[in-house]
């Protein structure tokens, strides 16, 4: 008699397309063949996965069409079967999968769209982090601020693309009647996904603001971040970028001492 372990390994393998027909005396045929019965479960596995993916990546469904999207979702499932009992978790590697498959081609930007859509979904499920008042920073303005580190709100995501990503995503939201034509040569786009109290904000930011945020998110000090953004520290461009970043409300705290002190 087949063990429960071996039965489950075989059954799941069939459902995910690892194996096909073969002798399975532990399954009763009864009018339909064993393969036909197992095929119902294989079909369920695919249809459920496709449905979950479509719900997570609506802009990509609009851009590529349902048939194309489902084909990609099925290929993605074969390469990255679900690792969770929660179908809401299945899309995490889809952006990388699309980037690999579409790299160098006409639809190369779809990977970036997937990255933005996944970021949006993840951000939506996280609680907003309200910035502590930065007024107390004013008490330290006469001190050496070179070791100052800002804390970036945890739900914030930053996506950079060589394509006009923000416009592509905006024009293909589910609230749009139909997709608008976009000139892909319009240039790079740097997008922030920000969790607000009652919604998720997606906005495009200038390159230096983006680089500054990335530097702070990586734990850079003010001095390190400044040199990452501009050729000379603390010049007007840096001050402008920092002012804009503070205005976005994504810097939610700060630390003045060096890490480890």
């Amino acid at each position: 008699m087949i063990s429960l372990r071996d039965l489950q390994r075989d059954f799941l393998g069939y459902a995910l397309g690892d194996t096909d027909s073969g002798e399975r005396p532990w399954i009763v045929a009864n009018g339909l063949s064993v393969d036909q019965r197992l095929q119902i479960y294989r079909n369920n596995a695919v249809v459920g996965f496709e449905k979950a993916m479509r719900a997570t990546f609506p802009a990509l469904v609009r851009l590529g069409g349902v048939d194309w999207f489902d084909q990609m979702a099925r290929a993605y499932q074969r390469a990255n079967p679900s690792r969770s009992g929660d179908l809401n978790d299945v899309g995490g590697a889809f952006a990388a999968f699309l980037s690999d498959h579409l790299s160098g081609g006409e639809y190369e930007y779809f990977g970036d769209v997937a990255s933005l859509e996944w970021s949006y979904q993840q951000c939506l499920g996280e609680s907003a982090v309200l910035p502590e008042t930065l007024d107390r920073l004013a008490q330290h303005l006469q001190e050496d601020l070179s070791q100052l580190r800002f804390q970036v709100a945890a739900p914030t995501r930053a996506i950079e693309s060589i394509y006009p990503l923000f416009e592509i995503w905006s024009q293909n939201g589910s609230d749009r009647e139909q997709s608008a034509a976009i000139d892909l040569r319009r240039g790079a786009s740097r997008v922030l996904v920000i969790r607000r109290i009652d919604h998720v904000e997606v906005r495009e930011v200038p390159a230096r603001v983006f680089r500054l945020l990335r530097a702070f998110a990586a734990g850079s000090t003010l001095l390190e971040a400044a040199t990452a953004v501009t050729d000379t520290s603390f010049d007007a461009d840096f001050r402008d970028a920092l002012t804009r970043l503070l205005g976005l409300g994504v810097l939610v705290g700060f630390q003045l001492t060096a890490i480890g002190e």
């Binding site: 799941l12 009763v28 339909l32 009992g85 939506l124």
Partner: protein
């Protein structure tokens, strides 16, 4: 605003013995706005695991007005893999936030060696499976610090080495672990049509005291070659034969909280509420007979 954890304990209560409906995203706003008269709501646990977002926030607001049952599909209770502790902790956290009167899962599995198909796959009804499920149920209930209900599933195949009736399997699981039973009447009907398993005999074999909830749903009829097969799609109204079987179940078990379960091709809220009113009429008759 999220319900604080300490608030959850004050409203736990019980599910009323009445008809409830499945909570669907597209109905959340309307439910919050009009607060229709329906006994209770059932939510799919996995859809509410996030910290924040419109769905969990709506659920917490609805919880202030309706009793709640949480119904999971992803725990893969019957899998040989170790229990997914992350999944279980998310469920435990959700239970803490929402104080549901009932928590349920399925007599099924859906994963092995870390890969999931996110479907409810059938178990063979053998001593090996029973011992395994008893152990898993005890583990889950210990971690969750409460008993849960387990639901019979519809299936599209049977195992030749099953040597325990499904009803006996569920009854023993309930007896050994204290878990309750959620009997899905549509699933009994689907299995009767697909495998010839006598649904009334199943109902007669289940101890009424173990049954804490009933589900009613619709199904689709497919043809593969010349063979008709019923698929548990939850996408249609409850059919006449299932209503009849529900009447038989209510007569045997007594009035029980009954859920109208509709998961695909979701109709308007009014349609769900109409199905719930029909179930309520059966419950009313059962109450009258018991009085």
């Amino acid at each position: 605003m999220a319900m604080a954890l300490h608030d959850a304990t004050r409203v736990q209560g019980s599910i009323p013995v009445s008809a409830g409906i499945g909570l669907r995203a597209q109905h959340q706003s309307e439910l919050l706005h009009s607060k229709p008269a329906v006994g209770w709501l059932e939510a799919h646990s996995e859809n509410y695991f996030s910290d924040a977002g419109p769905h969990i926030e709506s659920l917490l607001r609805l919880r202030e007005h309706y009793a709640l049952s949480l119904h999971g599909v992803g725990l893969s209770l019957g899998s040989i893999d170790p229990i997914d502790s992350q999944h279980l902790m998310k469920l435990k956290r959700l239970i803490g936030r929402t104080a549901p009167a009932l928590v349920s899962e399925h007599l099924s599995w859906g994963s092995t060696e870390g890969r999931f198909v996110n479907d409810l796959l059938p178990l063979p009804y053998t001593q090996e499976s029973l011992v395994h499920l008893i152990s898993r149920m005890n583990q889950v209930q210990t971690i969750l610090q409460r008993t849960i209900l387990i639901e019979n599933i519809s299936s599209y195949l049977q195992y030749s080495h099953s040597d325990i009736d499904e009803s006996a399997f569920l009854s023993e699981l309930s007896r050994a672990t204290g878990c309750g039973l959620l009997i899905d009447i549509n699933n009994l009907y689907v299995n009767e049509r697909n495998h010839g398993v006598d649904a009334r005999r199943f109902i007669d074999s289940i101890p009424p005291a173990a049954v804490q909830e009933l589900h009613l749903a619709g199904h689709s009829i497919d043809r593969i070659d010349q063979t008709e097969i019923l698929i548990d799609t939850h996408s249609t109204p409850v059919c006449g034969a299932v209503w009849e079987l529900y009447g038989y179940a209510i007569h045997r078990f007594g009035a029980r909280p009954t859920l109208i379960e509709w998961d695909s091709d979701i109709p308007s809220l009014d349609v769900l509420l109409a199905e719930a009113r029909k179930a309520q009429s059966f419950i009313g008759v059962a109450h009258d007979l018991a009085a």
